[in-house]
Every structure is written in C-alpha cells, then in structure tokens.
C-alpha cells in the first residue's frame, strides 16, 4: 500500500499536537509583537542564487533542489534569515530603522531523520535590522530567553560567544586557508583529540596554539574572559572580547544573566555570522533549541549594507521538552429533536465563548452522553 506512505522525515500533526503547536505560536507572536516585531512571510522556495548568496556553498547537500519549467534552479528554504534579508534589502529600504521583523515558518533540510531532527521543521524567529551595538544584541538574546520562559521552560542555558575572537585569532595566525577551515570545524565539533594533533603540527606561535586549544573548553561565567590569555596582541580579537563583555553587561538590565553562559566553542555553522553568536540548550533534550547571532554583512549581499541580528527557535524541538497541553476548555455537545432550537442554543453558547458542537446525526440523549464521555471536559445539552 504505497499510497499510504509519506516522504521520510516528514510528519502529520494530529489535533492534540496542533493545539500545542498553535499555543506555542500564539505565545511567541504575542511576545515578539510586544517588542515591536512585525510578522512577515516569504515564499516557501527561492532561487538557489538567493540562498547561496547568503549561506555560501557549505550546506549544499542539505538543500532540496529542483528545476522550474524555465530551467532555473530552485531550493526549498533551509532557514528564514536569508529570505528576510532579501525582503528587507528589496522592499523595506525606505522603512524607519531599526526595523523589527518576525516570522513563523516551515523550513526544509535533507538531513538524516531521527528524534528532534526532521526534514520539514518549523522555526519561530526575529530579526532586528539596522542596529549595531551591544544593546541590539542584548534585546534579541533577551527575547530568546523570554520566549523560552513564556513556554513554561526554566531549565535552560544560552551559550554566548563573539566569533570575532576566534576569527581574528585565526586570521592573524598565519595558517593556510585549508588549515583554518579544519581548525574551525574541530573547535566547533569539540574534537579535542584531533585539534590537539593539528595544532601540534601547525607552524604557529606557541601562545596562540595554547589559546586556540583552550577555546573549545572555555565555558562559564564572564570571568572566563580573563582566562583567555594574551589576546591583546591581536587588536581585533581584543575588540571582540570587549564587545562580548558589553553585551553581557547590557543583558544584566533584563535580569536574565542566570541563563547566560560564555562559551568560546560556539561558532555556529553558517558563514554569515559576523559578531555575537548564541545557542540555547535545555538539559532535557540532547539537541540545541535555538540559535542566532549578528550578521552585519548579509544584507549587503542583496545590495543593501545594513547591520542585523536575530535568532530562530526550533518549534519541533521545543515541543519535545514542553509539558503536556494546558487544561482543556469546556466544550458543549448540543442535540435535540428540534433542529432550529438546537442551532439557536448552539449559537447562544458560542457567543458566550464556548466551543460548541451540534449533533448532526439526530442522536438520542443517551447516545450523546456516551459520545461526550469519550471526549475530555465535554457537556451535553439535549433540547426536548
């Protein structure tokens, strides 16, 4: 029976799941709007050139590609930030900046499906466009924290980094491009064994080796920045360290620093990040919940230089760590022998805000009672 199959890594959502998911969306949108973020929507697929201009060629293997009838290559969107950058750079150039945008959208990646990893999944996110500086980063990170709070989650951490620290150290290291890419991947994947070996064989200064080897395990409060060692030699790296400190300080105003951890190993896979980067984790799930950061060069790819920062939460992963759905609302099942009075009564109850199903099968009182008993929190009203 192949006609019952759905493609690997995709899912159907049944009513109970949809209820939970819609509630998550409502809570997130309400929060985003309260900070002035306006919702936008973009096409489900885009020209490959658009995606590539943003994310580079790194994630080519994860794209769902196809060809339209004019012969151009299309890609299902693998994420939303690139599309929003394109929209802002084309349609919103005249807007008042900073511009605050948000979205809830399904995205597609050809990954190996497993728990918490699907080929179609949903992201909720915000982008703050046209603002640089620590306060902008702090606002976005705080909204990430508040979003998780609003869903009832308390046990989570946000790992914070400034990729300029790593990038500048590496840029000034004298390593070959290929070695740099390798070191970057090893730090990101925390492959300490291989990193140690590669650094051992690399022809770079010993103090730099030591710092790079320490980066993946530099994790803790803001005080770990003091343990970074002599980065002052590298002016840009020192600047990035200072900026990280500023964002951490700015976050204090929101009172969320209990959730913030400085983590030098967070580099984010995407090429477009330029400054502050962060990821969110819950101890209840072995996979990250959210990720984001500053991408000051992305909009320039679409002809509109503009600093920007944002984040996206994976809705499907969040759903895995949330407690069951809230209390069911009372619903009525209205039946009876006289159709007009059944319809009238149902309308009356709906106007009072109840969920009302009308019996369309002309059941008896007993039959309705039996049906209601199978549903949660359902009352029968039978009109004689």
């Amino acid at each position: 029976m192949r006609n019952k199959e759905i493609p690997k890594g995709l899912r159907d959502f049944l009513p109970e799941e949809m209820k939970t998911r819609r509630k998550m969306e409502e809570k997130a949108l309400k929060l985003f709007r309260s900070y002035g973020y306006e919702e936008v929507s973009t096409p489900t697929f885009e020209y490959l050139e658009v995606i590539e201009a943003g994310t580079g060629r790194n994630s080519w293997e994860e794209l769902y590609l196809f060809i339209d009838r004019e012969g151009r290559i299309l890609s299902l969107r693998p994420e939303m930030t690139v599309a929003i950058a394109r929209v802002a750079a084309t349609h919103l150039r005249e807007a008042v900046f900073p511009q605050r945008l948000c979205y809830i959208a399904n995205v597609f990646r050809h990954v190996q499906p497993q728990k918490a990893q699907y080929r179609e999944f949903w992201q909720m996110g915000i982008e703050l466009l046209g603002a640089s500086g620590a306060w902008a980063d702090a606002e976005v990170i705080n909204i990430a924290v508040e979003t998780l709070h609003s869903m009832g989650l308390d046990n989570f951490k946000i790992s914070l980094n400034q990729i300029g620290i790593f990038n500048s150290l590496l840029a000034g290291s004298g390593l070959e491009e290929e070695e740099k890419r390798l070191v970057r991947r090893l730090v990101e994947n925390k492959d300490l064994v291989e990193l140690g070996r590669v650094l051992n064989n690399a022809r770079i200064a010993d103090d730099l080796k030591e710092i790079i080897a320490r980066l993946p395990v530099l994790h803790g409060g803001i005080e770990i920045l003091d343990r970074l060692g002599p980065v002052e030699k590298n002016r840009q790296a020192a600047q990035a360290v200072a900026e990280l400190g500023k964002v951490y300080d700015a976050l204090k105003a929101y009172g969320v620093n209990d959730h913030i951890v400085i983590d030098m190993g967070v580099l984010r896979g995407l090429d477009y990040y330029t400054g502050i980067v962060f990821e969110g984790y819950s101890s209840e799930l072995g996979y990250g919940l959210l990720g984001g950061g500053r991408y000051d060069n992305l909009l320039q790819q679409y002809g509109f230089p503009c600093p920007a920062t944002g984040f996206a939460i994976g809705m499907d992963r969040l759903a895995l760590v949330l407690k069951g759905p809230d209390e069911e609302a009372v619903r009525f099942l209205v039946g009876g022998t006289d159709w007009e009075s059944v319809v009238e009564k149902a309308r009356e109850l709906r106007e009072q805000g109840y969920i009302v199903e009308t019996d369309v099968e002309q059941c008896t009182r007993e039959e309705l009672a039996a049906k209601a008993a199978k549903k949660g929190n359902c009352r029968v009203l039978f009109i004689e």
Partner: protein, 223 residues
C-alpha cells in the same frame, strides 16, 4: 538524560577492563560493574553516576541521542558512525589500526593498482572515504564478520579491516598494504550535556587527560 546523574555509556568487550581501571583511577565508582550480569544499568546514587552497558557500536548512538551524557568507545567506531558527538579525550588504550590488506600473492602491488577492485569490510564509510581521498574508486562490499574470508572465497580482492596484532591476517595469508588510520579509546560527549553539565564533565576531562598522558609517557619510557 536525567539532570542529577552523569550517565556514561560503556562498551562491553575488550575495552571494558581498561575502561573500568581508568575510571577508578579518575576517582569514579566501578565496584561490581561487569558485563557478566543481566544488569545493563549500574547506578551509583551517592556519586550521581550511572553506567550503561552497551554494544560498542551503540555507544555513539546513545550519546548522540542524549540517553548518555558521555561515552567511552574506540575511535574506529566513532569514524565509521559519523555521529554528532564531541570527542574530548584520547584515552590511549585499546590501540588498533584500520588497514588495507591483500592476499599474499598480491603483496607487491601498489595501492593504485587496486583501482576499481572489490573491497570487503565491516567499515564501509571508512573504506569508501579512504579510497576516495586517494582519488580511487572501489566497490565496497559490506560484511558483518569474518572479513578475512572474503578474498579466500573470492567475493572480494582486498579487505579493509581493524587489526591490533595482525595475527588474524597472517593466519589467513593476508598482508597489510597500508594503514588507513590508528585508533584508540576516546571519551565522547553529547553536545548539550557538555554545556548543561559542564561543571561535572570538565573536571573529569582534565583528570582523564592527565591520566592518559601519564600512561603515554610511561609507555614512551619503556619503549
């Protein structure tokens, strides 16, 4: 992934004994932990440690999925599985190598002469990646055991296998053509656990690094 426990997936088999010795040296409990029992979970409430006794090939899966925070498993298993886990410490024991081996009759061939041949292996990813990196193409035949038999019975021309002493190869009249990579036991971590349980994992990493390095220094001295 229970928050209050640090859960460590251990390999049944030859790695278990040195692993338990290493854990004991690092100050972790190991009393009564054995694979000769029906028990697959060993809980030490006082120290907040849990061990899961697994097949070696399952360890990366347990760790990636977060069923275990940490795992101790051979690099050979890690490279073949390509799971999303952090590799924290080279523990130094359990040494073995991935090798390309051919029947004695072919021992004078160069690697390049084996282009387009059939390779029997338990490790298709490792084999495929190695030959690709050499600019070669081979037909990989995945078997689940007795790889050494494949050339003898003629379903493959050469093999990629894991050897420690090379005894099995010799017994089957096979010779090593080249080593693909060396493997030892590694401490791996779930990426999220590494962050949420950093305060427990990081000190353990430090201790194990020190012990492993000590072991290596001693070995170097005796050599």
């Amino acid at each position: 992934m229970k928050n209050d426990y640090l859960t460590i997936a251990l390999c049944k088999g030859s790695l278990l004994k040195p692993t338990l010795a290493m854990l004991a040296a690092a100050g972790l409990p190991s009393d009564g932990v054995t694979e000769d029992s029906r028990n697959l979970v060993f809980t030490f409430a006082e120290q907040g440690i849990k061990y899961l006794m697994c097949r070696p090939t399952d360890v990366p899966t347990y760790v990636e999925q977060g069923a275990a925070d940490l795992g101790i498993v051979g690099k050979d298993v890690i490279v073949e599985q390509q799971k999303d886990v952090f590799e924290l410490v080279d523990l130094g024991y359990g040494a073995c190598r991935f090798v390309v081996a051919v029947p004695e009759a072919l021992k004078n061939l160069r690697l390049m002469d084996l282009n387009y041949r059939r390779v029997a292996t338990k490790f298709p990813r490792v084999a495929e990646a190695f030959f690709r990196s050499q600019g070669m193409q081979v037909e990989v035949i995945k078997l689940h055991g007795n790889i050494e038999l494949a050339p003898i019975i003629g379903i493959a021309d050469l093999i990629v296998d894991l050897v420690s002493t090379g005894k099995t190869l010799r017994e089957n009249k096979l010779v090593e053509l080249t080593t693909i990579m060396a493997s030892t036991a590694r401490l791996i971590s779930n990426p999220v656990s590494f962050r949420t349980k950093f305060d427990r994992i990081e000190p353990l990493v430090q201790v194990l690094q020190k012990i492993a390095k000590g072991g290596k220094d001693r070995a170097d001295e005796t050599n």
